[in-house]
Subunit: 185 residues, 2 copies
Amino acid sequence: MARASRTPYVVLGILGVLDPKPLSGYDIKHLIDGTISHFWAESFGQIYPVLKQLAAEKLIRARATTENGRKKILYTITAKGEKRLAAWLEEPPEEGPKREELILKLFFGSKTKIPVLIGHLQTRRDRAQAIVDQYSGWLKIIQGQRESYTPFQTMTLRGGIAMAKAFIQWADESLATLSRMKGTK
Amino acid sequence: MARASRTPYVVLGILGVLDPKPLSGYDIKHLIDGTISHFWAESFGQIYPVLKQLAAEKLIRARATTENGRKKILYTITAKGEKRLAAWLEEPPEEGPKREELILKLFFGSKTKIPVLIGHLQTRRDRAQAIVDQYSGWLKIIQGQRESYTPFQTMTLRGGIAMAKAFIQWADESLATLSRMKGTK
DNA sequence: CAGCGCATGTAAGATGTTACATGATTCA
DNA sequence: TGAATCATGTAACATCTTACATGCGCTG
């Protein structure tokens, strides 16, 4: 059997933690993209079926509405859903799939030209810098209005920044090494 | 379409970079586990079919042998395979799937007890420390016999150490924060 | 009125894990 | 002799991404 899907718990978590008001599948997807996207991704193809499944299990409650002409289905977490979420949170987290393509290409670096590797690494380094900038901005916002956010959100945000910074430092050192190799070769 | 599998290239890379002598599927799997396992994993269920497929495409050459009574199929990379590997290395690496279950559970931390979170985080912190220890050992070995390893292998190893250390530092800070929260609450 | 964003969903297809099946050899 | 390791493979199954399908409302 393949590892059990975490999507139901992500949905339960978003519904239970992130926002007290009812959310649609569309809302959930965009909340995920706007908050936890740097360590967790979900697609519509996953979310909509899971929503139905969770409603069938009475872990969430569905309510169809027509907000200014537009049809949408809003979901709220039930007491049973809260319990299920809490039980999952207690289970030891498993490690995710390891698939670092950049590192893989660096590892096999002897089979290509140095500038190619420099290009790959530089691109990712810049992306990491953009993440640091974005996250640092969020951190300021969060610290400005502490009531709306849990300390856990701050904690994971700090983690994201710390990891991205560490990556940048290593990338810069490695880029310098690669440049030196290009010169001497 | 789902993202294209990288398994063929991993196999090609192992065969081309890691060891000059012919390798069996079994060898390849264990080499992967022993070297790149912290950023890339493959299972037998992937490797054996890919080996056949690569041989059919003439990217690798198969040779059946009976080494001291034990039957095995040894593979070597062909010139065509080398070319395919080089072409892949030039393509910009895509980002892997984001699935950090630990971070997810921390993010939803307000729905469980602090000691639960401390337990999860401590476990992973200790695992990261073990990785740092193991990698640091490998680094010494590599630096001792430089002929057998490429500078790229050293580079990725350093990256692994740097990232694990950054994680540990963040984890320690977060564990301290969590302990404080437990006390004051 | 065209295009974009909102909103929900389904289908296809590939990836990847786990478990199973088989058989030989080595070592305690 | 029994267990562990070597060695190759297949089948089942679930996950997940991508693409497609549909339709409404708002804005330029």
